[in-house]
């Protein structure tokens, strides 16, 4: 008998079978990994479990009894809780308010928080969460926010806990702590479903692992009896090189020199006296936990936000007061962190998106009138060169393209401008293994063509595999300048969490 059993679940969306006859069995007290690429159907399966989607066929059993789940309330009643990849927290509510939302206790219609406060405090102490329950969500770190999500489940006495890609935003040390929490909870008899695509973590913490690929269940295996290579082959369907082939970097002259960059005003993290160089022919990676100033640094370099003081020199020319367009013309390309927010105008066609920074050049306009033919021809050229797939070719609305192809469009546009400096911020986020490989190769090609590449990444695998040099950012400061061949994951983690700090002199 299983705590939860999803039997023969099929979910069809127009034109695609997202879940094809999937059976998933979760035992009491186990940590069960659910492995699969983006698009394999993990999220759909979880949405079915939460009653957000109604499957075409299939049943759900809890402790052997058939149950119907039509929404989050049913799931909660059955003791199922989930930590979503994108946290479901109200930013201007306190920790406590977020935890009680949906299961509030009232007296004469007035909210009663005292009991809740005591219970949350107790739970937080039990798991050593060390959390300020009256802080507003927007004022606490991402790691803390995740603990709030876990507390939400514990507060509801959930027995079946689902974690959707929980480690993406954590330092190695925080990941370690999370793993411990998960082990403790499993030991208490709670069942944990752990959605991930990171093989190391599965090996570390999971008892069993179910693998999904293209909507199908490939199999469920005992983790202790299966190698990482086997798991990855199950996930991708072919042998995958777990590390990237690359030559030694041929480091050239300094392309970008950042000197004593400071920012304390405005939104976001302050930047504290940041100095570093990026050289031609190298991939310099900026590692760090999300929200430690990486975004702000990139905004400062690209001109999306202003700095208080300091210099940004591009081959000796001062950029820090220049407008965005001027910087683009100076040879900076930028693959932005959020492709929907900055990278694309989703309501424009693919073609119109390829000329986002060049529409005003002679090539694409004549006396202020857009040269449609030239634009279309240019887009077709990029589509061929970068193998961008879309339904209606260059006329495809960007909105209707897949994430991978949207990212390829941005990559194509930014690389094709022949930049001197390519800034890529989390360029592989949310993409499948094939697309990730492709993008890594393109970055390496750019490096080998003698361009300076500045890569901002949260994924330590990526940091270690792709970069030639690593800077670590913590609280708006650069705390390490290290060689990926000499540094360990653990050391990086210490830098990222602020436990270790070097005097970095550029």
């Amino acid at each position: 008998m299983y705590t939860i059993e999803m039997r023969n679940v099929t979910k069809i969306f127009p034109g695609i079978i997202a879940n094809d006859n999937i059976t998933l069995q979760l035992e009491r007290g186990e940590i069960h990994a659910l492995l699969g690429e983006n698009g394999a159907g993990k999220s759909t399966l979880m949405s079915v479990l939460f009653g957000l989607y109604k499957p075409e066929t299939g049943e759900i059993y809890k402790n052997g009894e058939l149950v119907t789940i039509t929404g989050p309330n049913d799931a909660n009643t059955l003791g199922i809780g989930m930590v979503h990849q994108h946290f479901k927290l109200v930013h201007n509510f306190t920790v406590l308010e977020n935890i009680v939302l949906g299961v509030e206790s009232t007296k004469n219609g007035i909210l009663q928080m005292q009991d809740a406060r005591a219970r949350v405090k107790a739970l937080s102490e039990k798991y050593a969460f060390d959390i300020d329950i009256d802080a507003e969500i927007r004022h606490i770190s991402v790691g803390m926010q995740q603990r709030v999500e876990i507390l939400k489940m514990l507060y509801r006495n959930n027995e079946i806990l689902i974690f959707d890609e929980p480690t993406a935003v954590l330092t190695p040390q925080e990941i370690e702590a999370l793993m411990n929490t998960m082990r403790n909870m499993a030991a208490e008899g709670k069942s944990i479903l752990f959605i991930t695509h990171k093989l190391d973590e599965i090996k570390q913490v999971a008892d069993r692992c179910s693998v999904l690929r293209k909507g199908k269940m490939i199999g469920t295996v005992k983790v202790s009896e299966t190698s990482k290579e086997e798991l990855s082959e199950m996930m991708v369907g072919r042998k995958v090189a777990l590390s990237l082939d690359k030559n030694e970097a041929k480091k050239g002259a300094a392309i970008l020199q950042v000197k004593n960059l400071q920012k304390s005003s405005g939104d976001g993290k302050p930047l504290k006296n940041i100095s570093f160089d990026v050289f031609a022919g190298e991939i310099l990676c900026i590692a760090g936990i999300e929200g430690n100033g990486q975004t702000d640094l990139v905004y400062a370099l690209t001109g999306l936000s202003e700095v208080d003081s300091g210099q940004i020199l591009m081959e000796g020319t001062e950029l820090s007061k220049m407008k965005i367009r001027k910087r683009t013309e100076m040879g900076i390309s930028h693959i932005p962190e959020d492709r929907h927010r900055h990278g694309l105008v989703l309501d424009y066609s693919l073609a119109y998106n390829t000329i986002l920074q060049t529409y005003y050049t002679k090539e694409f306009q004549h006396r202020s009138f857009l040269r449609k033919d030239a634009i279309m021809a240019y887009a077709r050229r990029l589509i061929d060169r970068f193998d961008i797939r879309s339904g209606q070719g260059e006329e495809t609305p960007a909105r209707s393209m897949s994430g991978g192809n949207q990212q390829k469009t941005i990559l194509a546009r930014e690389i094709d401008r022949n930049p001197k400096l390519l800034i890529a911020v989390q360029p592989t986020r949310g993409l499948d293994v094939g697309a990730i490989e492709y993008i890594h190769k393109q970055l390496l090609e750019q490096r080998d063509a003698g361009r300076a590449v500045l890569l901002v990444s949260l994924e330590l695998e990526e940091v270690m595999n792709v970069s030639d040099r690593i800077l670590v950012m913590y609280e708006g400061e650069i705390v390490a300048d290290v060689d990926p061949k000499k540094v360990t994951f653990n050391e990086l983690g210490l830098y990222m969490s602020g436990a270790k700090k070097d005097k970095v002199v550029a």
């Binding site: 909660n76 989930m82 946290f87 479901k88 109200v90 308010e97 939302l101 949906g102 909210l111």
Partner: protein, 315 residues
């Protein structure tokens, strides 16, 4: 003199306060409410209709209460259309607002002509309270707040207190605010975004309906299918008040005071001495609002999810 201005300030402030608090419910749940004007008109129209029906047979205060209840119900009813388009159809929330704003005055005039033969609905004001017993005798304050007044003035403050408690001290308020900030979070813990947003929009309609009637009564004995842009002013008050009840009250007071001054400046010695044309006093509240907004808007934050239809699939 001061008490005269104060009394008048109340006449303008209270409807603005009530209507803006109505808008607050809708907008804190995530639905833009540009239709306050139309909802006020519907409320005022039906309220006045009730007054006309009963003014021969019943004493003032009971009529007022019946009329207020009717206004509220009608405000709720018209809000269904707004809610349906904005929530169920996930349409642009401004479109249905505009439709209601256009429908209401036309409907009021059309129906009044049909029923009464004229769109100018004259009624007799039997609602004024000369002086509240005991309280009206207090020096200065009594004159300012308890003479030449209406029960609706006190209703306004009662509503403010209720709104404050409901919004910050109840389960409903917590859930409503969650829907306006992060509907997916609310949904994920089993709060029905649809239900909350419907409640928000319908409550806003009820309060706007009441506000419409409360606007008419102290300042006129004729209603002609217009509330003179007070619905839009209430929207300004709401934004000015940063979507928070107490701040909304101060904003309403400021607007009310400006309106009162523009209507009664000739009675104020030093203002009369300035010899400015009357139009400038009438412009003052609007210009003042613009200036104040120019200096405060950088930091005001609207409810995060406002104006966005809630789509379960979206992230």
């Amino acid at each position: 003199m001061l008490s005269f201005v104060m009394q008048h300030t109340m006449f303008f402030m209270i409807p603005l306060l009530i209507v803006a608090l109505g808008g607050l419910f809708s907008e804190r749940s995530g639905i833009v409410n540009i239709a306050l004007e139309g909802k006020m008109i519907m409320g005022a129209f039906t309220g006045v209709l009730v007054i006309l029906t009963f003014q021969e047979t019943l004493p003032g205060q009971p009529i007022l209460i019946i009329a207020l209840i009717t206004s509220m119900l009608v405000g709720v009813a018209i809000s269904f259309f707004h809610a349906y388009a904005s929530i169920n159809l996930q349409a642009n929330q401004i479109i249905s607002g505009i439709a209601i704003n256009m429908f209401a005055p036309a409907f009021a005039v059309y129906t009044a002509r049909l029923l009464l033969g004229t769109h100018n609905m004259h009624f007799s004001n039997q609602f004024r309270i000369e002086s509240v017993p005991h309280l009206g005798d207090i020096p200065i304050i009594g004159e300012m707040f308890f003479q030449n007044t209406y029960i609706t003035t006190y209703l306004g403050f009662v509503i403010l207190a209720i709104v404050y408690i409901v919004l910050y001290k109840t389960k409903f308020g917590l859930r409503l605010r969650a829907c306006g900030e992060h509907p997916h979070a609310a949904d994920s813990v089993g709060v029905s975004v649809t239900k909350m947003r419907y409640s928000g929009v319908l409550i806003s309609g009820g309060l706007a309906g009441i506000g419409g009637l409360i606007w008419v009564i102290p300042i006129s004995t004729v209603f002609s299918g217009s509330v003179a842009g007070f619905g839009f002013l209430a929207l300004a008050v709401l934004i000015f008040g940063a979507w928070r009840p107490v701040r909304v009250m101060f904003a309403a007071f400021f607007f009310g005071l400006m309106q009162a001054i523009s209507h009664s400046y000739s009675g104020i010695e030093f203002l009369r001495a300035l010899e400015l044309p009357a139009h400038f006093y009438r412009m003052t509240p609007f210009i003042a609002t613009l200036i104040v907004l120019a200096f405060t808007s950088k930091n005001t934050v609207a409810p995060k999810a406002i104006g966005q239809p809630y789509d379960k699939g979206g992230r």
